[in-house]
């Protein structure tokens, strides 16, 4: 696959929760091996859009989409596409760390086992924990409960858990919002490192974070009808220095929330 081709191509995507249209006519492309930040006021549909990329919205019975998302050039929502398989290729990290109430080891092993990993599980676990910059802190206590870890460690464990499955894309929904500034920096640094081998889409409320971490930024807003729409999408440096839209400028300079 051509490295310059976008990994996702979203065209006229709308999402409804029952009758409520949460996303309206989104058109955007997600660049491969880049970090794309989704920013925008609360309730504008950032999480909803993020969940469209790995079909997590399928789990919400009222959710229904119109329009199209191409992943690696083929329709993500085609009836022949298995959402389970998609989710093993497109990992997700949630806002609140949600390790399973099992040992650290079993947390990472879970994804390997359910997806029928053929290699050495112990090795894969060590590799994933190293990638998530957690190995040194937990290598002597792999059998301890994951719930004994600190919040920041738990979030890195969740990242390790997602990495173990060897996804192509990692979706992150405000992965640092429940963490203190130091743990947040650790996650940000990790995200930067991961972007060398993964495509990352990250939702954040924190403007500095978006500016520091991402290569591209997409700004969403909710209209009069509360539907979220894409205001502007471009290189992060451009969005933060010379935004095309006044609304973008107002938002990033904190003139409204």
């Amino acid at each position: 696959m051509n490295d310059d081709a976008p990994i996702f191509e979203v065209s006229s995507l709308s999402l409804y929760y029952d009758d409520f249209r949460a996303l309206k006519d989104i058109d955007m492309e997600i660049r491969r091996y880049a970090i794309t930040a989704l920013i925008g006021p609360s309730g504008c549909g950032k999480s909803t859009l993020l969940r469209c990329f790995n079909r997590m919205n399928d789990l919400i019975p009222t959710a229904r989409i119109e329009g199209r998302i191409l992943f690696e050039g083929s329709d993500l929502y085609h009836p022949d596409v298995d959402a389970t398989e998609i989710r093993s290729r497109i990992g997700m990290v949630f806002q609140r760390p949600n390790p399973f109430p099992k040992s650290i080891y079993d947390n990472v092993a879970f994804g390997l086992k359910i997806n029928g990993y053929r290699g050495d599980i112990d090795e894969a676990i060590e590799r994933s924990l190293r990638q998530a910059a957690l190995w040194d802190e937990v290598k002597d206590r792999l059998k301890d409960s994951a719930l004994e870890l600190s919040g920041g460690q738990q979030q890195r464990l969740c990242i390790a858990r997602a990495l173990a499955v060897e996804p192509e894309v990692i979706l992150m929904d405000e992965p640092a919002s429940a963490l203190d500034p130091i743990a947040t920096l650790a996650i940000e640094e990790l995200v930067r490192e991961l972007s060398e081998s993964y495509t990352i889409v990250i939702v954040t409320h924190n403007m500095q974070q978006a500016a520091r971490v991402s290569h591209e930024t997409a700004f969403l807003m909710a209209g009069e009808d509360r539907s979220g729409y894409l205001v502007e999408h471009g290189a992060t440096s451009q969005i933060f220095t010379t935004p095309k839209s006044e609304r973008t400028e107002a938002y990033i300079t904190g003139r409204f929330s």
Binding site: P61, F94, N98, F100, P101, K102, F110, I114
Partner: protein, 293 residues
């Protein structure tokens, strides 16, 4: 003294008095319960303890109170309860998993849910008659262990389903989402993320449901009704009796000695019940300490 508030009349003395009265009323309410239980227990212990011996546990019932024992009833109870557990756990947990994890939330499932709750409140004698008609008569099993266990299963099943659903619903949704996001399918989510957290709660609820069934005489009377049973059931197709029926029979006899035997039987039954409840508490505690980690 501090400046008194003009706009208020605090009536502190009166409030204190009313508070005291209610405290006393509630204390009495608790005492009524505890005291009557204590009186009951001491009466039973005083009457039954002298009759409690190894022989009482190993002898068969008899016309002669000195050598009468509860062996056949105790073994009958164990047989029936073991089979009941065997039937209700898979079916009850399966139904709960279906309702919580698979079933679409629509009118039909709502109707089913309401009816299961209603079934849990149906008087046990109704289940006894149903079991008698269905298993003993229509399926002509006869008055055997299997018929008794199936009848008690009908009685316990709604409670097991309700308790299991409660336990499954208590599993945070984040675990399910976390598993789905790793590419798990529905069953892998249930097996890997839901059941491990729910099983202690399911076990606790099931044990409590079974311990309710163990003391029930009414539903089994219609199935067993045999009291002078001088053998222990060897398989599910043997005749049987259970402890509450044996006790009920002894209580109904005019001789004082049989009353005391009944008391001894009650002590054994209570001991079994307390053990089961303790097990439930231990499981719950272990579960709580684990999830607080």
């Amino acid at each position: 003294m501090a400046k008194s508030k003009v706009n208020f009349d605090p009536r502190l003395a009166r409030r204190k008095m009313i508070g005291g009265v209610f405290y006393f009323v509630f204390l009495c309410a608790v005492m009524v319960g505890i005291l009557s239980l204590l009186v009951l227990l001491t009466r039973i212990l005083m009457e039954g303890l002298p009759w409690l011996s190894l022989g009482f546990l190993t002898n068969y019932p008899s016309r002669h109170p000195e050598i009468a024992g509860i062996r056949s009833a105790m073994m009958g109870t164990i047989w029936v309860m073991a089979l009941t557990a065997l039937f209700t756990v898979p079916v009850g947990v399966g139904a709960a998993i279906y309702l919580e994890e698979y079933a679409p939330k629509n009118r039909l499932t709502q109707l089913i849910e309401i009816n299961i709750s209603n079934l849990a409140g149906v008087p046990s004698i109704v289940y006894g008659l149903l079991g008698w008609a269905l298993f003993v008569q229509i399926m002509s099993m006869g008055r055997v262990v299997l018929a008794g266990a199936l009848t008690l299963s009908l009685l316990v099943l709604p409670i097991v389903i309700l308790a299991s659903r409660e336990a499954i619903r208590a599993v945070p949704n984040e675990y399910r989402l976390g598993a789905f996001a790793l590419g798990a399918d529905q069953w892998q989510v249930i097996k890997g993320a839901v059941l491990p957290s729910a099983i202690p709660g399911i076990l606790t609820g099931t044990i409590l449901a079974l311990s309710r069934a163990i003391g029930e005489a009414a539903p089994v009377i219609a199935i067993s009704a045999l009291v002078y049973l001088t053998f222990v059931p060897a398989d599910p197709f043997d005749q049987f009796t259970v402890m509450p029926i044996q006790i009920f029979n002894w209580v109904g006899r005019p001789q004082d000695d049989f009353q005391s035997l009944a008391a001894a039987g009650i002590i054994v039954l209570l001991a079994i019940l307390l053990t089961m409840n303790a097990l439930a508490v231990i499981l719950r505690n272990r579960y709580q300490t684990r999830s607080e980690d």
